[in-house]
């Protein structure tokens, strides 16, 4: 089965610009999760979507937002980019619900802010 796919692989922006990152989950998975992996900080939870609705949100400012489409793919939007937004952004998907549904990760989008 195809894994979680993310695009683009690498995105270079300047301060103040807006970035859009995309994620396609594994077929049959309805939940999509976004994480930020910044140097030295590990993975920090950003957003969780399930069946088109935002289920939970991490401790990030409102300029981080997203959505999930009817086909369960998802977009992460980051407005008013700041230098500290430079990081690897990982998307994961799972079957509906939490608990015993492990998350499968994509390769990530590396966002570089100049």
């Amino acid at each position: 089965e195809a894994g979680v796919t993310q695009s683009p692989t690498h995105l270079i922006k300047t301060r103040g610009q807006q970035a859009t990152l995309r994620c396609s989950p594994i077929s049959g998975h309805t939940s999509v999760y976004w994480y930020q992996q910044a140097l030295g900080l590990g993975l920090q939870f950003l957003l969780w979507y399930d069946e088109g609705e935002e289920r939970n949100r991490g401790n990030f400012p409102p300029r981080f937002s997203g959505r999930q489409f009817p086909n369960y793919s998802s977009e992460l939007n980051v407005n008013a980019l700041e230098l500290e937004d430079s990081a690897l952004y990982l998307c994961a998907s799972s079957r509906k619900g939490l608990g015993n549904q492990p998350q499968h990760f994509g390769d990530g989008t590396r966002l570089s802010i100049l």
Partner: protein, 114 residues
């Protein structure tokens, strides 16, 4: 709020040495615990998971982990490491209730030298 601590940031071992990576968590309720591995240039992969039952869980590639509830620990072990085990290892926790996301530790980088 729950948290996960991985005290070793970088571990360097020779091939055939035994491995133990520490993971401690803080949460008083029922948890599900995971170890993920990220090989160089690859996406995060699930190594093993604990939901309930036998506290000693076996994962892929000869890894195992033991859940010790009294110590809030879920250490990862392997009796004999190989050069191909060089990777970053992440411990993660999932609360067994509510719409909550995975909480990751900051990761431990393992370097195996010949």
């Amino acid at each position: 709020a729950q948290s996960v601590s991985q005290h070793n940031h970088h571990v360097i071992l020779s091939e055939a040495a035994s491995l133990e990576l520490g993971c401690n968590y803080s949460y008083g309720g029922t948890v599900n615990l995971f170890w993920y591995v990220q090989y160089p240039g690859q996406h995060l992969q699930l190594l093993l998971k604990y939901f309930s039952g036998d506290p000693l869980v076996k994962g892929i590639k000869g890894f195992e982990a033991e859940f010790i509830k009294s110590k809030f620990s879920f250490n990862l072990r392997k009796p004999s490491v190989q050069w191909s085990d060089t990777a970053e290892y992440f411990c993660a926790l999932l609360r067994n209730s509510g719409n909550t996301p995975l909480v990751f530790g900051k990761g431990t980088r393992l370097s195996v030298i010949a």
